[in-house]
Symmetry: C2
Subunit: 652 residues, 2 copies
């Protein structure tokens, strides 16, 4: 350890630095650099920086810098109500585009609204109400230019299946009330996530999980539609794959051939139009207009042939008129409250995930940024206000937004056009839906959800990442065979388990020298990397903290033991020095520091020197504060593995 | 991008490699190395390796390699019953040491056993039963040579406070039954953790959490002892700081001066002996023998002066004899089952943590390794069998093991000596405890737990790691003011929250060149590091996966935006190339891969080139499998940041 006395640990005024005498040349000819201590920060500064990164990573107040008071006020108003931002530059040219796209999505939204309400076991009219108020609110508060707002299939399905646990949908008044309360909670939950900048919670629903969840849900939803398509009256109340199939085949006596024939004809029609639009994206309007066309055709068909007298079930009378207020129905007590809150949270998080993912997708296509937290507040406000105006959970829908985008929408005005079209329907056209057959709604739902089964993505997951495939397939199977909520819960659990496995069992790899360089790499990755005799260089690929410090200590000692066994067996130079490459150790806590101390003690007892290379800012600071640095000594910390090897070979 | 055509992506037979034409010299004079794809592995190989690392990191079957069948059988038996391993070499010399240490810990264990049983609201005799059977079992199954087994304060306290929620301790028969059932569940839980190799779950009780928890519990326990020390009859049933102090001062009328005088005298005596042993470790036996001495002295005092007639409460009659079987009391149904299971799990994990930590501490002092999973099975078996023989939760106790170690114990035989001493006590000496005053038990408990308040460690936590301090202080305050279990739960929650924050909000740092080298380091850490004009080099300090991919994308784009604003403001060379240093990105999932693709698309739209440096084995493999590698192109992946800078400067 000849050179050790040349080095010293300095504690200078403006911080502290472990001076390794930067100009001292060692045997390897490599200049050794001192490893700085980072500039000192007060606790408050560190806390502020940390909180800033956690809660304000996007630095939302940036544009307020260097502005006058009035300008700041205007910017704030524009931040809360983006309509004031783009509204000032709005012109007739833009309006023409928005009018066309608004009318296109309306033709899709009206039949979808009615169908999705049925999916949630709600009266069809609620679906129309929910396509009127929320788009208006989103137009004022939302920051996406392409999002088309309204009820969506997954959230409708989950709400329907969860609320059914408490109250039968036949008990309409109570059921509707629970739905509105759940919607209110969904809105509160969504808005608070945004307000408290906890948007990252949504990220825990990873995409693989969602692919599996949506695939499973799509199958469940489609199976539920067999009731309508086969004209079955006595259908099971359960959602699982097996009871539903059982129910379909057990009630063969109720199958009505007229319903089946008509249903499958329209299903074929819709499938063909969908296929046309998928093959030629230019004809997107074919599939966009198909649902309304089918509704009109089938209604006329029933009306003209009096098919309702021949076993084809129809919607029947709907009460038109504007959304009635429902704020008096929001009660926050009673026996079902806990279930309703849970329903709100689950549907809230699901609809948020869909809305934000859709908004981000189109934002990135048109090259503008979506502020996740702000969107959450907008969607939350939309649902809170919606629940007071007879609307159930709504969000940005993928299918409608895609149509909106393709139809050339420019701003959120297309949502206002959509709302106006729904308004006219509510006021004047409702009676026309009297003869609309139920089977057409089932067909529309099946077509809408069938696109959610993304088997190609599942195959790709298997190829690229087995763990992601596992989350995906668990969600899929869970939804199909257990229940929609449990499937989701299990899949999220598996995603989190993955994090825990990664944290508690981090990789440790043996490094070797890339010949002719000062570069050291994983020997199992780079075949040309060669071990340095007498040295064992181990890279720890994770922060060291309480959850893995015990494991890491044992694993590192096992590497050392195995290396010693190898050298003895092969009669090589015996091991003299262990170098820990801390490049990927981005953080350390007190348990990790203790592990480093114990490792040193244990290796020293075996006459092995232990040396640290490439400590990060935080690690260096903690090593210093905990006195571990003093214990290791200044000749045991190096900036790179190369310098450590060079310095240590010189010592021996 | 002149050199791009020289590079090619090869897919060779024995794996695939992205060949960056290793010998091509670039302008920087730096040789560019190819970034290998790691050798291909089948799914089964990868799974096997992964499961091996997660569940068998210590490679427990290593010693079975290259052995005959018979030898393997012997090794297995020795693995399960370590007594057969060291038993063959046992001799009289070792026994002499074990006899001395066994008798020393017996003199401590007998009064402690009685006291701790009272802490758990159990009859004192159960404490003696629990000091007889478990040490015998541990002697056969345990692998630590220094662990002294028996009831411990924390687990006793928690069991007492949790079971009291269901049944009053005055309802002795039912209460004892619940305690035995909880002990059984604790054993089952402990043994299954070991059996399924889930020992790492114990690591989630981090040391800072435990320091806070034990400090808080020690205060709670000491306060409970005021009942005995002040001779109060009507004492609160609650555990919190405030109700207990309230109860003590509200019942001033019940304070008995004789009790107080005698209690505090013995407390002072015990404190002095403890101090002597702490100052001079050679005199460890002073504090080890003090409890038994106090018991004998105080009992004689009460007997001779008939003090029990003057307000000093005594233990009274105890029924001697061996442990009665209690297997018939284990019932696994009934209304309190869920609470009992929870009690079992909580006391199980707490006693496991203490036992294993103590075992590891002394193992590392004598330089032998403790197999955590094996210890869990031993402690679990001990509690399962114990619960059938009238014992409650036991584990390796810190105070007794320290005495054992200091008294020179050599093997687990000292536990057998301890058990024999307790056996003799149970059979013949029980009547002698009739006149033992309760106050002496209170004094013994206070002295035992007071050492758990480690204020120096708390101060150190504050200095070194604020987040660890937070877990510690939350546990402390939670235990003091809410409840023992909630305090623990909140603190564990905070530890896990820390992991989540680290995972969802990883650091990203800007790198600069260390002048005169090919080395790039964090510019906020190394002041000499200088930015390379036209380049932005960002190191991502965490794996990229679903929980942080959205954040990372936004954060990286913000770095780019800020850098562009800076260069415009200062009129510097405009930004041309972004280099991502992936050295610390030890893993990536499909969400992370998508983020890399989107980042590339977004930066390309701004006419910026993006380049990856230093991808790890797993990242490289996934980049290849997901076709991301093809998209980026072979001129966008480099082995080091230095090579990337050198190659890209040449292109421009």
């Amino acid at each position: 350890m000849g050179g050790a006395e040349c080095n010293k640990i300095e504690n200078t005024e403006n911080g502290s630095s472990v001076d390794l005498e930067s100009s001292l040349p060692y045997g390897g000819g490599l200049e050794i650099h001192k490893v700085n201590l980072p500039p000192p920060k007060t606790t408050l500064q560190a806390l502020r920086h940390r909180l800033g990164e956690v809660f304000f990573p996007d630095d939302p107040l940036r544009q307020l810098n260097d502005q006058t008071c009035f300008r700041r006020f205007v910017l704030c108003i524009q931040y809360i109500f983006p309509i004031f931002q783009w509204g000032t530059e709005y012109n007739f040219q833009l309006f023409k585009s928005d009018l066309v796209s608004g009318l296109t999505i309306a033709s899709l939204a009206i039949p979808q609204g009615i169908s999705y309400a049925k999916l949630a076991n709600l009266p069809p009219i609620i679906g129309l109400y929910s396509s009127f108020v929320p788009p208006l609110i989103y137009a004022v508060l939302g920051s996406s230019r392409d999002l088309a707002v309204g009820p969506v299939s997954i959230a409708s399905l989950v709400m329907g299946s969860m609320l059914r646990e408490a109250v039968s949908p036949d008990d309409t008044a109570v059921y509707i009330q629970l739905a509105f309360i759940a919607t209110f909670f969904a809105g509160v939950f969504q808005a608070s996530l945004g307000l408290f900048r906890l948007g990252f919670i949504v990220d825990f629903l990873s995409k693989p999980t969602l692919i599996g969840f949506m695939g499973g849900s799509a199958i469940i939803v489609s199976l539920q539609q067999l009731k309508g398509l086969f004209g079955i009256t006595h259908f099971t109340n359960e959602m699982g794959l097996i009871p539903v199939l059982f129910s379909v085949f057990n009630n063969r006596s109720e199958w009505a051939w007229q319903t089946i024939l008509m249903g499958f004809s329209f299903l074929a029609f819709l499938l063909i139009t969908r296929h046309v639009s998928m093959v030629k994206p230019k004809f997107f309007w074919v599939s966009a207009a198909a649902p309304l066309t089918s509704v009109i055709l089938s209604t006329m068909f029933v009306y003209l042939l009096k098919a309702d007298k021949h076993g084809i079930k129809i919607i029947g009378e709907l009460h038109g008129g504007l959304n009635p207020p429902s704020v008096n129905m929001l009660r926050f007590h009673g026996e079902h409250l806990s279930l309703v809150v849970r329903t709100g949270v689950v549907t809230g998080i699901l609809s948020l995930t869909e809305g934000i993912a859709v908004g981000r997708t189109f934002g990135s296509m048109k090259n503008y940024q979506i502020d996740g937290n702000k969107e959450m507040m907008a969607i939350g406000a939309m649902n809170m206000i919606g629940s007071c105006a007879s609307c159930y959970v709504t969000t940005g829908s993928f299918s409608r937004s895609a149509v909106n985008y393709n139809a050339g929408s420019k701003t959120a005005i297309s949502n206002i056009v959509l709302a106006s079209a729904v308004l006219i329907t509510l006021l004047f056209l409702i009676p026309l839906f009297y003869y609309t057959p139920n089977l057409i709604l089932s067909a529309i739902i099946i077509i809408a959800v069938i696109g959610l089964i993304d088997y190609r993505a599942i195959v790709k997951l298997w190829k690229v990442d087995k763990f992601d495939f596992l989350s995906c397939i668990t969600a899929f199977i869970g939804v199909l065979f257990v229940s929609v909520q449990s499937g989701l819960l299990i899949a999220v659990g598996i995603s989190i388990l993955k994090i825990f496995i990664h944290v508690t069992r981090p990789n440790t790899v043996i490094m070797g020298n890339i010949p002719g360089t000062q570069c050291y790499q994983n020997i199992s990755h780079y075949r040309e990397a060669t071990k340095v005799p007498s040295f064992l260089i181990i890279a720890i690929e994770s922060p060291i903290y309480f959850a893995n410090s015990v494991y890491l200590q044992e694993r590192l000692l096992r590497w050392v033991r195995e290396e010693e066994e190898q050298t003895t067996k092969k009669n090589l130079n015996s091991l003299k020095c262990v170098i820990l490459d801390l490049a990927a150790v981005t953080s350390i806590d007190t348990s990790g520091l203790e592990t480093l101390v114990e490792l040193r003690n244990k290796l020293n007892k075996r006459d092995l020197k232990i040396v640290l290379a490439n400590p990060s800012e935080e690690v260096m600071e903690k090593l210093y504060k905990s006195q571990t640095l003093k214990l290791y000594g200044s000749d045991a910390i190096y900036m790179t593995v190369g310098e450590a090897v060079s310095a240590m070979s010189n010592h021996q």
